[in-house]
């Protein structure tokens, strides 16, 4: 799906002696400045977090101050997927399809407890964190987060965008899920993270 072949540079190596010259860094700065201040969000609102997201976009908090005045309801024109609300298993393939339809470069904000971890919905129907379906850049805690919290998360994402380097090919690759399990993180890790904790350890699993 990616335009270029996946490179080996999946991590950013910080080594001052290998840094680009003055022109390249200035160009990076310009490109990142433009990108970070014109992130078009793709709102994927499924629950009460979406109401807070609407409040964030409305005049009191005014996302347009950060260059996000245009909600992109087509994933093909979006830069950042804001997943606001719980994602049931039935919606999981749809969320992944939307993510795969977004062109690079793209980022993802997981807004609220349910999108980040499944929240209080530790049951048969709800995905335990959208990072098991798609890669996530910023997690915004809260149930639901206040608009200030979402704006803080967006500012964090802008910081991340501003620190990207064009020479770092890893940031431009489309991350492909593991062909066998079709997951981004190993199934054993998902099972481990999905183990019951707190009061819910009393619930038992039957069979399988």
């Amino acid at each position: 799906m990616g335009l270029s072949a996946p490179s080996e540079h999946r991590t950013v190596a910080y080594a001052p002696e290998s840094q680009e010259g003055w022109v390249a860094t200035r160009l990076d700065f310009l490109v990142n400045w433009a990108r970070a201040n014109s992130l078009w969000p793709m709102p994927f609102g499924t629950a009460c977090c979406a109401i807070e997201f609407m409040a964030t976009a409305a005049s009191d908090f005014d996302l347009a101050r950060f260059g996000m005045e245009r909600m992109s309801f087509s994933p093909r024109q979006a830069d950042v997927l804001i997943c606001a609300g719980r994602v049931p298993f039935k919606l999981a393939p749809i969320l992944r399809r939307i993510w795969q339809q977004m062109p690079q470069p793209k980022w993802c904000i997981s807004m609220g407890a349910c999108a980040s971890t499944g929240g209080m919905f530790d049951n048969y129907a709800v995905v335990q964190g959208i990072d098991t379906i798609i890669p996530v850049d910023v997690y915004v805690p809260g149930c639901p987060p206040r608009p200030e919290a979402l704006i803080y998360g967006i500012r964090m994402l802008q910081e991340k965008v501003k620190n990207e380097r064009a020479a770092d090919k890893g940031t431009r690759d489309e991350m492909e899920p593991d062909p066998k399990s079709q997951l981004y993180i190993p199934p054993s890790v998902i099972d481990e993270l999905g183990e019951p904790f707190g009061n819910s350890v009393n619930q038992t699993r039957s069979g399988l």
Partner: protein
């Protein structure tokens, strides 16, 4: 006046105005007269009736429930023209049977009646569908099947509605279903990601046969190849 009297408004109004019922008895309040009419009409098929918080519950025979609901719908003295809900109740006690519940409302007579059928556990759970009486039973029965696994015989399209169609873990609202599901998290995720998100738009559901010419090319191709959507 009785709370089950027919109310007329305007010039035809008799004495008495509609009023909100206050201080309802828990049990043995005035029963909905339809319960007595049912007992008279169907005799032994009406097993028991209860009035709880002013609402009448009629337990009927499993084999005759379709006939009874059909009569309630058609008889001019009943006219239960609105099916509010079809659902089921399973109790934690393994001895207590599963109940299938129909919530019926008669708009002309302002009556509410709850019809219940008890299905003993350990047998295949099947009751007659009331889809031919109330079209609204379509999705209600599908949901009841999806969540409890009750077969509604005679339903034209009985398949899952809330869970996806290839869902293999069973019926989530049954008492023996673990809250987190039967499979591990990664297996649940793998199975849910394997479903085809576009498969939900079936020719049958959307009745797009008329608009076939206006469909996108790829969808036309897939449908004409006989792709049965869903599973």
């Amino acid at each position: 006046m009785s709370r089950f009297d027919i109310l007329r408004t305007g010039r035809a109004a008799a004495s008495g105005q509609p009023s909100t019922l206050k201080a309802v008895q828990h049990r043995d309040a005035e029963a909905n007269p339809s319960a007595a009419a049912l007992a008279e009409k169907f005799g032994g098929a009406v097993k028991r009736r209860e009035v709880i918080w002013g609402e009448t519950i009629v337990y009927v025979d499993q084999a005759r429930v379709h006939e009874i609901i059909s009569w309630l719908h058609d008889d001019p003295s009943q006219q239960y023209d609105f099916l509010a809900d079809v659902t089921a109740v399973e109790y934690r006690d393994a001895e207590v049977p599963v109940e299938v519940v129909w919530h019926l409302r008669s708009l002309p007579y302002r009556r509410f009646l709850r019809v219940k059928v008890q299905l003993p556990k350990g047998q295949p759970m099947a009751v007659a569908s009331v889809y031919d009486i109330y079209k609204s039973a379509d999705w209600l029965e599908r949901e009841c099947y999806d969540m409890f696994g009750i077969q509604f015989s005679g339903h034209p399209d009985l398949r899952r509605i809330l869970m996806w169609e290839s869902y293999k873990e069973g019926f989530p609202l049954r008492k023996d279903f673990p809250l987190r599901g039967r499979f591990s998290r990664s297996e649940q995720l793998r199975q849910s990601l394997a479903q085809n998100p576009e498969a939900r738009y079936s020719m049958e559901e959307l009745s797009i046969a008329d608009a076939f010419a206006e469909l996108p090319e790829d969808m036309k191709r897939r449908l004409s190849k006989g792709e049965r959507t869903g599973e």
